[in-house]
Symmetry: C2
Subunit: 194 residues, 2 copies
Amino acid sequence: MTRRQPKIRKTRDQILRAATEMFITRGYAWTSVDDIVEAAGCTRGAFYYYFEDKEDAVRMVQRRLWRRLAKHAEAAFEPTLGTVPNLKRTLGAHLSALDELGPSRRILREMWVDPSLESIGSEEFDRGVGVIEEFLAHSMRRGEIVAMDTRPLAVLLTGLFEVATAYALQMGDASTTIEAVNVLLDGLAVPAAL
Amino acid sequence: MTRRQPKIRKTRDQILRAATEMFITRGYAWTSVDDIVEAAGCTRGAFYYYFEDKEDAVRMVQRRLWRRLAKHAEAAFEPTLGTVPNLKRTLGAHLSALDELGPSRRILREMWVDPSLESIGSEEFDRGVGVIEEFLAHSMRRGEIVAMDTRPLAVLLTGLFEVATAYALQMGDASTTIEAVNVLLDGLAVPAAL
């Protein structure tokens, strides 16, 4: 198993690269499994060994793109700073990183266009709520943000962030979206901290 | 045409009432056009005269529920108050009114459950962005909120509000959601107004 893994990864990555390319140039809706198989230079059997269907492949592509954005956000986190500055830094980094995805950005947009791709969205949403809720609980214990029930606030922030991502992708430029997000995040600071 | 309208409205309303009842008790996914026709005591022909399909009927039901919520929001608007208090009042009234919808609340939730019902969501979303953008532009001219591009801020607020509605519906109680919305809205006030 261990010995076979590099080969497995190589074929799967080859298919994913080909799928990414097709989704970008032709669009997800207009790409078939046969197109991907042809572009990847593999067999249909190889495709169906790794993926259930086209949706399964695009979900994996999207998941990887989200992970790349999340890494940018994590790198922007600065432990010595307070809650609101850190929320601004991490969300800003995530939104700015959309530009660095280049044409793959288009694949993320499909999530809000094709209803069958919603599930990856709700998976990322739940993950976002978990991360943000933990962060908020920590900040509240330190008195850096208004004390309240962390769950609804985490849900709202994740939702705010999701719509910001969709809008920035649609506009092709994240700067005005980041500005608007920052204004709303300012509401979180405890009055004394202003 | 004018003379026939009361009759038309009566049959259509009868179908919508029956559909609402079925969607509540059985759930949207498990209700067929035949179920609705039977409950309404009308013919299939009558159903298809007013609606293209089941989706078309549920969209109309949802649209009416949204309009009821919007009326509560409009009634809470108080022209003598500032921007942030008014945003809090109207959004709070909308969220609180979810309770008053009674069991029909369940039908609104379908919008986030069944991907085929997304279109009514994006229709309401665009309407929300339009209303909020106009309101923000007016508030900025009066110097009541931070001056910036109104469009991204209107999109974010509408998104915030949509996720707040979905969460309040899921929780069955709007109070903690309203509290979280209010905290974020505080970020909009110009520093001098604090």
